[in-house]
């Protein structure tokens, strides 16, 4: 590792001196604090940057480069509009976190800097499946940061109150346990809003269903597929146990904050959401437990969406070198490992996965991740996620009483139009 770091600094230094030859006196930088006075703007998504990791990376970055790091936390909802606008502006965020399902679409826009040289210097052993979303037409448009899948986060006290001794191993056990909570306690068995579409995507993966299919050279909606219907029926069965709004997603309100009130048996979320809950109500910490989302049989856990995040550099950023410096630090084995440890996310290298040992959330997530997947990694997909996301609307329609077939028909036009629109 040390060798790599030295090599990296060497490469950076070389590039810097090349830039300096260009006569741009802004770039007169060398050595450790060659970036003094500059500020690197980083956009990270809500929840991705745990406190300790952020603090350490910031300190390391500022120490090494002499520049400042400005972190701006973004919300998922409406992120594309904001990102597109920002990338077109004079001062885009220099480095930003971008969801794996959105990366191909943005790679096509020309807004992302080519990071092929970074891949060469630090990415030789990035896990291939995790890196897949960042590579478009053979070029590296982003650097893989982490992936993770959802687990069941539950309130031990509520489950004990209901007299449940054993954690459920199958979907039916899970349902029965939640039912029991509903009968025996005054807590809400599960908080599951109508539009937790990532969980729904996971269920479809579990059924072996595809959300889109090819029709000639075009992608079209596949929501009418009976396998998708089956996944939706599972979702609906569990959603009926929740009082959460049917037309909202898990971030409005933040499900972890609802859970933090202690009146909820469980929710389906990401490992770090436990930290959100603890922040809202420190007393909840000792009651939080995790388990793998149970599948139809005990042998195979539920299908899960492998949500992943990459780091990308804005093509128009004037701080390309500084941005790469940041990536080298943030994605270094030290901090990548620390992130895995703190947040329980799957790191971008197989070798670092040992950091997950002892992290209860990560251990609950691991059994399912092998059967996980993503939405189709095609450039056309980005448009689908724009609000109003037709998949979310499909879910709400079913939950409000439409038959899955009718609901699929309702959103099909919008879904297909989005898949077909030129970029």
């Amino acid at each position: 590792m040390k060798r790599k770091l030295i090599a990296a600094i060497g490469v950076a230094g070389m590039l810097v001196s090349v830039a300096a030859c260009g006569g741009d006196d802004k770039d007169k930088k060398s050595g450790a604090d060659g970036f003094k006075g500059e500020t690197l703007t980083l956009w990270a998504m809500d929840g991705s940057t745990p406190d300790a990791w952020t603090k350490d990376v910031k300190a390391a970055f500022e120490k090494k480069t002499g520049a400042k790091l400005k972190l701006e936390v973004q919300q998922w909802n409406g992120i594309q509009q904001k990102l597109t606008a920002a990338l077109s502006e004079e001062n885009p965020p220099d480095v930003f976190e971008i969801g794996n399902t959105l990366t191909p679409a943005y790679a096509k826009t020309g807004g992302l800097a080519d990071l092929s040289d970074l891949k060469k210097s630090i990415g030789a052993d990035w896990t291939e499946s995790i890196n897949a979303s960042s590579v478009v037409d053979g070029k590296q448009y982003a650097a893989p940061w982490f992936v993770l899948n959802r687990v069941v986060i539950y309130n031990k006290k509520v489950w004990a109150d209901a007299g449940i001794k054993e954690l459920p191993k199958t979907r039916d056990d899970f349902y029965a346990a939640l039912k029991k909570i509903g009968d025996k306690t005054d807590a809400e068995p599960i908080y599951l809003p109508g539009q937790n579409w990532y969980h729904f995507v996971g269920l479809t993966l579990g059924e072996g269903a595809e959300l889109v299919k090819k029709d000639g050279d075009k992608y079209v909606s596949n929501l009418a597929d009976p396998k998708v219907t089956k996944a939706m029926e599972t979702y609906q069965k569990f959603q009926k146990l929740s009082k959460a709004p049917k037309n909202k997603d898990e971030a409005t309100p933040q499900q972890a904050e609802v859970f933090a009130k202690g009146k909820t048996g469980a929710f389906i979320g990401m490992s770090w959401e436990a930290a959100t809950a603890v922040k809202a109500n420190p007393k909840i910490e000792k009651d939080i437990g995790y388990f793998t989302i149970p599948g139809a049989t005990a042998a195979k856990p539920e299908g899960v969406f492998l949500g992943g995040s990459n780091f990308a550099v804005a093509a128009t950023s004037e701080k390309q070198e500084l941005a790469k410096e940041f990536l080298k630090i943030a994605l270094s084995d030290k901090y990548e490992g620390a992130l895995a440890k703190e947040s329980g996310v799957i790191p971008n290298k197989k070798a670092l996965e040992s950091n997950l040992k002892g992290n209860a959330a990560a251990e609950a997530a691991a059994p399912a991740s092998a059967g996980g997947g993503t939405t189709p990694l095609i450039p056309e997909w980005g448009a689908v996620e724009n609000p109003p996301n037709p998949i979310k609307n499909y879910m709400t329609a079913v939950l409000n009483g439409d038959s899955p077939a009718d609901a699929a028909k309702k959103v099909e036009g919008e879904f297909n139009e989005r898949l077909a629109k030129k970029q």
Binding site: Q80, Q81, T84, L87, S88, A105, Y106, K108, T109, G110, G111, K243, P245, K246, N247, G382, A383, N386, P387, P388, N393, T396, A397, N400, K410, V411, G413, E414, R418, K421, K422, Q423
Partner: protein, 328 residues
């Protein structure tokens, strides 16, 4: 005739105060002549500002509407002319026509309700005793004063699925199925909330102005009608109505223009949802443009919306100009 605003003027006083302003004078008689340039110099800041900040965006909107402008072109600042492709796409998309039809129906329902209820409330004001009138005026002014986004937020709370007071009242009145009704879950129920909100916000303008107008009807006219043996209805039909006709006409147009472009209310209540089923033209333009990042398409929809609005405005302007002919 006093009404000449499109934005809902927020309070009664101006109309009252303003109206005594229009006394036809012949400016040609001015004894003191400024130089020929003075009026233009005085107008210059207003005209320059309007051309720069209103005219230029309008032209720019037109230019954008003839471009292929999606994420890529937008981010890289590329200009790719594509002729009338955007218009072909928009006009050929049945969704556009559905939204247009919806906007027209939406406007019609709102305006009919606003004018009918507003007029009735205005006439009621004229009939009330002083104390009750003040009370009702106070209520009207309060509803009128409520800022739009504050009002949309409050309506979301009133119609909230859980703990919303509307659902509670309906359940108590015997519709037990309404106890946890999701108003934002359906097209018609969402429209119901939006229309209730807009009508609530709009009645005061019509009612207060109409009441103000009725106070200007000369008493003699009623006395004459009474001498002719007219009953209440007849004197309303023969005296009040003809007197208020120009006012009602102009107000109706203003409300049409105003409701047609009611972006904040519709957007803030449910962002055009569920399923994009409550989008009216301005919201459709925004969602297609910014939301789905087809900026050229969005601009084309905007321009079509502007054309519709302008034609409505011209009709209204002709009306106002006819009434103001002498003064101009």
């Amino acid at each position: 005739m006093t009404v000449q605003k499109t934005e809902r003027p927020p309070s009664g006083p101006t109309d009252v105060l303003k109206s005594d302003g229009e006394q036809p004078k012949d400016p040609g008689k001015a004894r003191f002549r400024a130089t020929a340039l003075t009026p233009y110099l005085l107008l210059l800041p207003a005209i320059a500002g309007t051309l720069l900040l209103l005219g230029w965006p309008l032209v720019n909107n037109g230019l954008i509407s003839f471009q292929n402008l999606n994420m890529r072109q937008f981010i890289l600042h590329l200009t790719e002319w594509n002729g009338i492709d955007n218009y072909k796409d928009v006009l050929g998309d049945e969704e556009f026509w559905r939204v247009t039809g919806r906007s027209i129906a939406f406007t019609a329902i709102n305006v009919v309700l606003i004018m009918a209820i507003g007029t009735l409330v205005g006439l009621l004001l004229a009939r009330l005793g002083k104390k009750m009138r003040l009370l009702l005026l106070f209520g009207l002014v309060l509803a009128w004063a409520m800022p739009i986004i504050a009002a949309t937020t409050v309506y979301q709370w009133l119609f909230a699925q859980r703990y919303g007071v509307v659902n509670w009242v309906l359940a108590k009145l015997g519709w037990s199925s309404m106890a946890e009704y999701d108003w934002m879950g359906g097209q018609y129920s969402t429209f119901f909330v939006i229309i209730t909100l807009i009508v609530w916000q709009s009645i005061p303008f019509v009612a207060i102005n109409l009441y103000a107008a009725t106070t200007t009807i000369p008493k003699e006219l009623y006395e004459a009608a009474a001498l002719d043996g007219a009953d209440a209805w007849k004197s309303f039909k023969n005296v009040t109505l003809p007197y208020l006709k120009p006012f009602l006409f102009a107000t109706t147009f203003l409300e049409v223009i105003w409701v047609f472009k009611a972006f904040p209310q519709v957007f803030a209540i449910n962002e055009g949802g569920p399923d994009r089923l409550t989008e009216i033209l301005p919201v459709y333009a925004y969602i297609e443009g910014f939301g789905n990042q087809h900026y050229g398409m969005g601009a084309a929809i905007s321009l079509l919306t502007i054309v519709i609005l302008l034609s409505l405005s011209f009709y209204y302007l002709r009306l106002v100009l006819k009434q103001e002919e002498d003064e101009l």
